[in-house]
Symmetry: D2
């Protein structure tokens, strides 16, 4: 940590800071600058007390951490890229995953027709929400167990792997019985208890970035999964909240590249949530691939105008077809292979 | 709902929208403007299918809801302000609550000395985290059950009521055995399963606004509590995430006034989280009272520089004293009484 | 405009709104819904008084405009894409422009070596700031007229076209003597007097999006240029300000696609400002092309570590080479041709 | 500056950084931590080259400035608070200013009736825009010179001082002939040429914070005024842009307190722009005073529903009366005197 003192701090107040730094377990190293004194605190920040609290001392102007706070999620913790194996479908290190399906599971016909359609066009993984976190308690909350049953039917019929969201610690086992990938949504992105429970399941987990989560915090949420014993983590960029109103969220495609620089984990992009507009999904898929994404998570519905949730961001089968047809040159240029 | 069509939409495509509106359960009412046609969809939006999905039709430019989405939380649902009774301490409708205590419960001495100090200065409710949601898995996660036990000791010794955070559905009963108010933190502000479980407990709940939660969404989260049978809801503004870096969060004091206009629920302000800087807490308390808050939730610690969590935003006993001494004229001018 | 009244508004207060709508020049058309009354105001919103001020009437809950506010910038105003001709270099409608050069013009050697390097790698247009808007008055403010002279030398030597920023209405003529494209920076994105002066010059103008400018506002700023007689407008996405700290700005690549849907104007991407990190520029160029950009504006410096401004976001010649080598497959897949 | 190197940087690469730091004019001081090496660069950051560009070296992880970048605007540059004297009306150091009037000057009757009304209720300064920066070129742009003439009439009749916005460097002298305070609006908050021109006029300047301007940048914009010879600067908080949609802007009242801690300059609050809603202006005035503001800038109009600009945020005479009646206890508690 670096502790910056205010200009003209008298010697005895510098000493006070030095003593406090030592008391909290660091080796203090003062540097006397032209205008300000700085105290470097030597020690591993991840095992010591944080010094950020020293800001409450009147002579302290700022405290800056030196180290990155994530460890297992960082590039430094392992050589090469993580490959997550989803029951035979490999994701990461060049292996590209196409996940598609409806926002919510609504009915057997809706789900199966979508499953067949996306499989025919190259998807390996079927998405579909059985439990839906809805902003209003009066909105459709998902079919629950019946939704899980339908996902199971779809898997058996099509052979697609299943990704579905889990909202509650209590449901992790139940959802895990059906899901090949547990999805943690943006609203639960920092629900650490749910993360720990998902970690314990050892199932692959797709971890969405929270609506206003910094990349550092997102990687620290992944660290909760890794530190609790689950190495099968997929990061998912799904748009952040900004002032812009033409889109529901601002898809932060630079975050894909940064997450891949900072971490060895695969990064998936959700262009549907990412902008909240069906008409932009196709072009955002191109952009995501070009930026180095390891997979896409796309909402597809037979009749988006009549969807029970988020119809405005779901594409129909025809748009999905064209979207998939677009991808090969981008995948090739980005050194990605769709299995 | 109002469905706005693109300029020059041909008649048959207008008809298609009218038919779809009718199919989804609304009475369509087209209005032919000078440049654009608009279809008003008459019907209760809270019981019908949303029409926002119609945006996927190529001739639709925009879809705008007319009604507010919250009902029980809204001013229209009841006359007058809600008063939440916390085991004898009344909050709302002029009754002002002072809640104070450490960010985390760290030890018996730390908690009891703080409890005594804040009680002596007029607080009626003691805060203190036993379960802490920390950004990094390597940070202090709270004392857990031992923390709850210490809070119980503090209550018995001082008579203060207890507010403490609950992180998990599974802990609601356990935490509720000690807590007089269950606190739902910003990271769980849209963890609807936790909200529902807290609603069922019937305990008073303090619901923090999420880091990037719109006021509408915050009131809809409160609606989850109300619609699941718990009328004892306290809203808590604790700062939103913006680009500003001089503060950890931007305390949205206008939100206090808006929440009170829109809703009958009491609104508490957390100035400690709200800015993340101990040196601003005192003046933010003044501002919060002037803006019409019904209470304050303040982090107080015997030695903030050595606190195990968020020391940078905790005030010591002396600052807390001065802060409380400041309040009377502001409370009087804002027609609030500290019991 | 659509005026939404509060639930249970009595008849005479509805009448009052109807009268006010008529008084302000619209034909009022009331719609009586199940819970709320809505008054549609028929008339061209761009030539009438705005009705947004009706919100001050106590019975009005919300006022929503129907029409888009930009006209000449919109797709509806012309068939096909605008092609901006920069003294023979065509931009838009498939013609892709590569603009590159140092953040600031620092010296003859720095500028000429960079000009030669970027030309050799395919750039058609040289960027370089002679007048720099710097956050602090103590930072390097640009070489001014000497900078313009050096840009002129570089043009004559290399044949590259010149883009450079203009900060002041008073400098438009002077800068226009050297520049082939006048650049309006993010800080002046809504400096309407400067926009009008640049419009009058008839020179091509590259209009950066403001740091927190909504796409609608950005297009309205372009409308200032168009409505004042200058059709040669290039829009430039350069990142928006968000809470994220790993990047200086969040490059909003979806905005490229939206601007191209909404408008016929070419859209350029500035990946250097867009993230503020040299190490991300290369991949962001790929993403920008994939998203449909019509050109790139890239900061290149012989020795970024010693640059007089924004060294952290400038790439050196070697990175620029590799960046340009990356582009062909992305350009091809996106149907763009680099002349 | 503090230069943080990546973990495990080899010795010769540390040397390279040390050499570069020395080359750029600082005295390098390496500190060898447990995991990472840090190079402190000793020297006055305001007179040396910035080292932020060193981030382009592959072994550098982060570069952090130590010093604050503003000097004349900072508390350290003078003892006590600045008092700005506006032709006899003193603002700052306990002297509170009430500035009120219409958003735009629309007509003699509108302006004079408002001037009389606000004077009768205690305002010392009349606001009114003659030149209006409007988002769309089709909106009312102000009466220009005729507006200035009317402001002059109002001053002569009522004795109120005049504050009005200047949009253009070219108008500074003209506007200054009428204005007692030159107002720089949010859109021109970083139009440094306009700032410099206003500085040269020596007139008091009210400098609004930009829509997404950090407090540091706002103070640096003030530094442009101060460093160019004009000490008569009023800072004005007017809301920042966030994701919230219930208000047009989020009034950052903590920024008032921070600006007063960091700087000796008076801080004014504009509650009208600050939230964009007339119904919140009254309570925001209370909050602003409680937070330590030195004045208020309030939009008042005889008939807000028919205003030519921003009617939704203007209060009428009756609301203004009640608003002023509210203030005395808040002013007293905050040690402010309305002259």
């Amino acid at each position: 940590m670096i502790v910056i003192l205010k200009p003209k701090t008298p010697k005895e107040q510098v000493e006070e800071v030095i003593d406090e730094v030592a008391k909290l377990g660091y080796k203090p190293h003062p540097i006397y600058g032209e205008l300000q004194t700085v105290v470097a605190a030597i020690g591993d920040e991840r095992t010591h007390h944080t010094l950020e609290s020293l800001i409450v001392l009147p002579q302290v102007e700022r405290v800056m951490p030196v180290q990155k706070r994530y460890k297992l999620a960082s590039r430094e913790s392992q050589d090469g890229d993580t490959v997550v194996d989803v029951d035979g479908v490999r994701i990461g290190n060049g292996h590209f995953a196409l996940m598609a399906g409806p926002c919510s599971v609504e009915s057997e016909e809706q789900l199966l027709s979508t499953a067949r359609a996306v499989k025919a066009r190259g998807a390996q993984i079927l998405r579909g929400g059985a439990y839906k976190p809805r902003t209003s308690p009066y909105e459709f909350q998902g079919l629950g167990k019946e939704g899980l049953r339908l996902l199971d039917v779809a898997r058996r019929e099509t052979g697609l792997k299943i990704i579905t969201e889990v909202l509650s610690e209590r449901d992790v086992e139940l959802v895990g019985d059906t899901a090949d990938i547990l999805q943690i949504g943006a609203r639960n992105a920092q629900n650490y208890r749910l993360l720990i429970e998902c970690a314990r399941s050892r199932k692959p987990v797709l971890l969405k970035r929270g609506m206003s989560e910094r990349i550092e915090e997102w990687l620290l949420a992944a660290e909760y999964l890794l530190a609790n014993g689950n190495p099968n983590v997929l990061l998912c960029e799904r748009g952040i909240r900004t002032f812009e109103t033409y889109t529901r969220n601002t898809l932060d495609l630079a975050a894909v590249a940064i997450a891949k620089k900072e971490s060895h984990l695969p990064v998936i992009v959700d262009p549907s949530q990412g902008c909240g507009r069906a008409d932009l999904v196709r072009v955002l898929c191109r952009g995501a691939v070009a930026m180095g994404a390891d997979g896409l998570l796309i909402e597809v519905h037979p009749h988006p105008a009549e969807a029970l949730s988020d119809g405005q961001q779901q594409v129909d089968f025809e748009v999905f077809s064209r979207l998939v047809e677009d991808l090969p040159p981008f995948l090739a240029a980005a050194s990605r292979t769709l299995a």
